[in-house]
Symmetry: C2
Subunit: 173 residues, 2 copies
DNA sequence: GCCCCAAGTTGTACTATGCAACCAGGGGAG
DNA sequence: CTCCCCTGGTTGCATAGTACAACTTGGGGC
């Protein structure tokens, strides 16, 4: 057998991320985030065949902002408008959202969750939450809140980086 | 009780993840991980058009274990063997890995990184590391190490859950 | 009124993926 | 030794998600 398990797998299960240096910590974070990202989509599809990760996110956004245009979704999630258009078409056909023609600008379709969409979103959210809760069960509350704040902080940094990278000038002027 | 809507957008940007409860923390973690996962792939592709997230992961695994079979990769990453086969074919054609016919079992191709593959992997790892470092710059070392350990802990739980789910009986007998 | 811009849709192409069918080699039962 | 079945891998097909480009429709300035 080629069981050359001589590798130092600092990241596997009972990794001692206690005495590590900042560099090593960054390395571990990178690896773990990568592993997580790779798994996430497939795992999400397995869990909710009806609602892909992107669709879920779009529905969530609609609920959060209470209706917006496809263009807004595209901008917010760095997706092409054609991609959003097809996703929206699918969500519409599935009865999860509806497109209301903006009376003031007939180019615009304002997207709104339907009751069904709201229900499905709640359902998926609930089951996602349950899954996360299971994975995070047994964590001290202190760790949970810290983890949450780290994720927020990390994503904020990542988002900031993303939005300052594109060549499209921000409409600050 | 279908009124899970108690937690509303506690999570946006400058969220106060300080005094939150465990439930809210789980909610935030879920949302942030979701957001991260959604972004990760596209962001990775933008960064390294030559090496997708999956390819990168596969190369990394090969380096880590020092060569293995396609089947091992498929099992380890919950991918279909056809998917791995195609990825491996691409990596082989790109000269990043080589397939060595196992002299003991001619069904088996043992995959090894080529020098080029090692170099590319190092390159991509370096630039990924730089990106993460940038996002994590300014974090106190204590937070970094804690974040790292949280990610490890979370992924370990997620992995455990995944590997105990499938209906395929474990080959313990 | 004409031209350009903005919002969306559609055509096309490409990648990643899975399932199923298949091919090839290995190993045990007869 | 031959046959069968299992395992590792490839290939055919289908699907989802995505981007880019061309097009359609509507709005607004000149």
């Amino acid at each position: 057998m080629a069981s050359e398990e001589s590798v130092r797998r600092v990241d596997d299960a009972g990794a001692p991320a206690d005495g590590v240096t900042a560099d090593a910590a960054v390395e571990i974070i990178q690896r773990e985030m990568t592993a997580f990202a790779r798994r996430a989509r497939a795992s999400a599809e397995r869990m909710h065949p009806q609602l892909s990760l992107v669709s879920y996110t779009l529905l969530g956004h609609l609920q959060e902002v209470g209706g917006c245009r496809a263009t807004d979704l595209a901008a917010h999630y760095s997706l092409d408008k054609s991609t959003v258009s097809r996703q929206v078409t699918a969500l519409d056909r599935a009865g999860l959202i509806e497109r209301r023609l903006d009376p003031e600008d007939h180019r615009v379709h304002v997207l709104h969750l339907t009751p069904v969409g709201t229900a499905v979103l709640a359902l998926v959210t609930r089951s996602r939450r349950a899954l996360f809760r299971e994975r995070l069960s047994g964590w001290p509350e202190e760790d949970l809140t810290r983890f949450a704040s780290y994720m927020v902080r990390y994503n904020a940094a990542a988002t900031a980086y993303e939005t300052e990278q594109p060549e499209a000038g921000p409409p600050v002027g």
